[in-house]
Each structure stands twice: as C-alpha cells, then as structure tokens.
C-alpha cells in the first residue's frame, strides 16, 4: 500500500497518541511482567535478580495450584449456567410479545453496575443473620462462610449478573435467522424441540462461539465480585480464584516476583483456552445465511 508522503505524515501524527498508549500500556507490560518474574521485589525496596527462583516457588506453591482448580470449577459452573439461562431468556424475548424490549433492557441492568458493588449488595443479601435471603427462607444458612456453599454462591452471583448480557447476543443471533427457515421446518413436520435442536441451535453457532469465548476469558479473570463477597479467598480458600491469588501475592504478601510468574501462567492459559475454543468451533460447520 503506497500513500503520499504528506498523507503518511498526517496519519502517523494522528496515530501518535494511541500508538504511544498501546506500546507503553499494553505491549510493554507483557515484557515487564516477564522481567519481574525473574526478580525479587517487595513493592518498596530495590529489585534483585533471582533467575528462575520464582518459577520454582510458584510451582511448589499449593495455593496457586488450588486457585487454578477453584477457577476451573468456577468457570465450569458459571459458563454453562449463564449460557443456558441466557439462551432461554432470549427464546422467550424473541416470541414477539409486547414489552419484550422492556424486559430485555431490565435484564441487562446488573451487568451495567460495578461488579464490586454488586458483590457488596449480595454480601448483605447472603449475610447469615440479617441478610435478605435467610429472612425470606426463615432459616440460617451460611451461604458465604460454609466451605461447601461459598463457591456455588459466588458463582450464582456471577451468573445473575451476566444472564441478561448473554441474552442480548442470543436475541441478536435469533433475529438473524430468517423466518422462512423455521416455516420450512414446520411444513416438513418438525416439532418445536426438533426445530430448535436441528435448525435453531446449529444456526446460532457463531453467536454461541462468541458468547463462550468472551465468557470464558472474562470468567477466568473474575476478581471484583469474589473479592467483595468472600474476602481473602473465602473459607479454607474455596473461593481463592486465580486473579485474586495474584493480587494477594503481589499486594498483601508483597511477593511481586512470584505474582508476576502467576500472571504469565494465567496469560498463557488464556491464550491456550482461546485457541482451543477456536479450533473446536472451526472443526464444526457453520451455516452462512447471508446469500
């Protein structure tokens, strides 16, 4: 691509601020985090080079392994739940009933709010003695302090926050399917379940792909709401998600080097998961209705 010198100069002048921002605040940190992973730093004093000591320390750190497991379980609960509920809501919203737009906007409200603030609100709702849920149930359940209940509770709050947002995408995906496709299926004698399973679902595959990939990436990094609901990783560390573990390691234990190694592991993991999802979906056929 050519371009005249004057146009090139103007273009790079216009790009200069964002180029600076991208280079310094998005690309450089990836190099810096690798460097920090080979240093010892307590946030205040000087940094010293320690080579692979941090990597060894992280590999032997049972809490980090546990946080990866906790995050995996969290993702495995939240993603299917929010996807199924989001799709269900979208199917209801797509029946063309009056007021559908109103419900659609209403369902997105939790997602607009700060996850931290949502976490604080639910911490009260789930509080053992004076919380709203136990008052409603008329019994005392330790939603956030019981090691068996803490992770499901935290996951439920996350699902509650995201269902409406996920539904938005499915509504858009459903609208992109021409009515003629469904009419043809009905003429051929297909029942509602068959139509959904054999026609609607395959045609929603691009939407499903987008919802799953972005959902998994953000669920892997969940921090704010978990931090507000269960401080310090929850009872016996059952809600110690990996983003929280990195935060505590760096800013409470002041082991920045080890936290940096954990951050690199998380980054690699996210790239692998994203590529794997991409592969899995591209092996399957997608249907193009645009022609």
């Amino acid at each position: 691509m050519g371009g005249r010198p004057r146009e090139t100069r103007i273009a790079y002048l216009l790009l200069a601020p964002s180029l600076f921002g991208v280079a310094v605040f998005l690309v450089l940190p990836i190099l810096v985090v690798i460097g920090l992973g080979m240093q010892r730093w307590d946030l205040i004093g000087p940094r010293t080079f320690v080579g692979f000591d941090n990597v060894v320390a992280v590999a032997e750190d049972g809490r980090f392994a546990r946080s990866l497991l906790v995050t995996a379980v969290f993702v495995a609960v939240v993603i299917p739940a929010q996807t199924v509920l989001g799709l269900g809501a979208a199917l209801l919203l797509n029946r063309g009933l009056r007021g559908s737009t109103f419900f659609r906007v209403l369902y997105v409200l939790p997602w607009i709010c700060a996850p931290l603030v949502i976490g604080v609100v639910w911490r009260w709702i789930l509080a053992p003695t004076d919380g709203a849920l136990n008052a409603l149930l008329g019994r005392r359940v330790e939603w956030l302090a019981d090691p068996a209940l803490a992770l499901p509770s935290v996951a439920a709050v996350s699902v509650w926050t995201q269902v409406g947002y996920v539904a938005l995408f499915f509504v858009a995906g459903l609208r992109a399917i021409p009515p003629s496709v469904h009419e043809a299926a009905v003429l051929d004698g297909a029942g509602p379940w068959q139509t959904f399973r054999r026609i609607t679902l395959p045609l929603l595959r691009p939407t499903l792909f987008f919802v799953l990939v972005t959902g998994v990436i953000s669920a892997f990094q969940t921090f704010d709401s978990v931090y507000a609901l269960t401080p310090k990783g929850g009872p016996q560390g059952v809600t110690d998600v990996v983003a929280g573990r990195i935060y505590f390691e760096a800013f409470e234990s002041r082991a920045v080097g080890q936290a940096a190694v954990m951050a690199v592991v998380l980054f690699v993991l996210l790239v692998v998961v994203t590529v794997a999802q991409q592969r899995w979906f591209s092996r399957r056929t997608t249907y193009d209705l645009s022609t």
């Binding site: 050519g2 921002g21 940190p29 209801l92 409200l109 603030v117 604080v120 009260w124 951050a263």
Partner: protein, 276 residues
C-alpha cells in the same frame, strides 16, 4: 387467537416476569435498607418495609465520618479526564485507519486488535511497577495515565463507522482547503454523533465501575474512587448494612440513570461487538 396460544403467551409472560423480579429484587431490597434507620434495621425483621423512610444514612455517608463526597469527586474527575482523552485520541486513530492511506496501516491495525486480548489481570503488576518507577503511585495521573491515550476497542468501533461516511463529504471539505483537524471537527464528528454517544456511555460505565487498578495504585482517602471507598466501607463497617447499602445505592444510581437514557445506543453497540 387459539386457546393454546393464549396459554403459551401467558406462560411466557409469567417466566419473563419471574426473571424481572429476580433481577430487580436485590436492587429494591438494598434501596429499602438504605432508607431505613439503623435502629429499625437492628430491631425489626429484615424484610419489614422502612417506617418512616429516612435519608439519614445518606446524610451520614456524606458527612465527615464516612467522607463519601471525596470518592465521588475523584471518580468524576477520573472518568471525565479519561473520557476526553479516549474520545479525542480514538477519533484521531480511527480516522487515520479508516480514511488515510499510509504504509504499515494494516499491520498496525492488526497489532491494535491483538491488544484487545491482553487481560487486565496480567498487566496490573507490570503497570504498577512502571508507575512506581515514574513516582506516580497514589497520584491522579497514576490513576488515569494507562487509559488516557485511546482504547483499541473504541478505535475499532469508530473505524467501522468512519468507513461508512460518504467520500464526497470529505472531498468537498478538502476542496475547500480544510486541514485534517478541521475536517475532523466540522465533518467527521458531527456526522458520528450516535457512535460517539454510545462510546461516551461505554467509557463512563467502564471507568466509573473500575476497581482493581484504583485499588492497587492508590492508598488512603486522597485519591480513593467510589468502588474502592465502597469496598473499604463494607470491610470496616461490616454489619452496618444501612450505611453500606446507602453507599451501594450512591455508586449504582448515576449509572442506571445514564444507561436508561442511552439504552438504545448501548444495547445496539453491545450486540455489534461485545464491549470490553
């Protein structure tokens, strides 16, 4: 209308209504607690409606003991500065990518897109160390600098829009001898109002709600933003739920109003690209 379709519609409304109740209940319950006196909250059942409705928690919240005015002012300043920076610099970059021809354009745009995949959980530690080296910990600039120079997401969204502007419009301005900045101000920005409104709402929501970066880069009350102040209040006064729910109400309400006013713009843009 057949009987079965009436039943079907009724069932649909029932399910939609149940969803609405589940969505709204936590907000309404927290608001209810926020307008209840601490005495009533302590002495009567939790679900008892407020009697009388009182604003004392909010008065208390903004008073000297809890000092919630500062976090609101700081958050508003942070959001305003980031908003101006992001809009201006993103418009610049998006225009270059959309309407100018220059060597390296496609490769650079690909790099911008790739950075959308860099997770915040990974950059937080290196950014902290960089800000520490610059002596910007616990400063206003430490809070805003990483976000100030435009966002790849905004650039991506604007570029799509700018590509749709008719070439004649831009050529006419060029023939009149208008420079690039004048074209941007008098042609590009006026015809791009809807997308700029959408971006404004998205940027305000994202940075009003931001927690992790302000949490690590600031200490103490001087530069505390509203999310960090709410988290601090909750952990310090755990159990004083009337005051804590007043804080969450204050943190949520401005965004809900903003969103309801601009919801059409926001919902459309979410479904085009999926923001964040």
């Amino acid at each position: 209308m057949t009987r079965s379709s009436v039943l079907r519609d009724a069932a649909t409304y029932l399910a939609l209504g149940a969803g609405a109740l589940l969505t709204l209940a936590p907000f309404l319950l927290s608001l209810m607690t926020a307008v209840k006196s601490p005495l009533q909250f302590a002495s009567q059942p939790t679900l008892q409606p407020p009697n009388p409705v009182t604003g004392e928690n909010f008065v208390e919240l903004f008073g000297s003991r809890f000092g919630f005015v500062t976090p609101i002012v700081v958050t508003a300043q942070v959001v305003a500065v980031i908003l101006v920076g992001q809009l201006v610099f993103s418009v610049f970059a998006a225009y270059a990518f959309a309407r100018l021809r220059f060597p390296g354009r496609d490769a650079l745009f690909w790099v911008y897109l790739a950075t959308l995949m860099v997770p915040q959980a990974v950059t937080i530690i290196p950014l902290y160390s960089m800000m520490a080296d610059l002596g910007l910990r616990n400063t206003f600039w430490g809070l805003v600098l990483p976000q100030l120079f435009g966002s790849p997401y905004a650039i991506f969204l604007l570029r799509e829009y700018f590509r749709g502007i008719p070439g004649d419009l831009l050529d006419a301005a060029k023939l009149d001898g208008a420079g690039t900045l004048r074209i941007l101000r008098h042609v590009v920005v006026p015809v791009s109002r809807p997308i700029l409104a959408t971006l404004t709402v998205i940027t305000v929501v994202t940075h009003w709600n931001n927690f992790l970066w302000p949490l690590v880069i600031t200490t103490g009350p001087q530069w505390q933003v509203i999310t960090v102040a709410t988290a601090g209040l909750q952990s310090q006064y755990n159990g004083n739920w009337t005051i804590v729910m007043a804080a969450t109400t204050v943190a949520i309400l401005p965004l809900l109003v903003l969103f309801l006013v601009f919801q059409r713009h926001v919902i459309r843009s979410i479904t085009i690209t999926g923001f964040r």
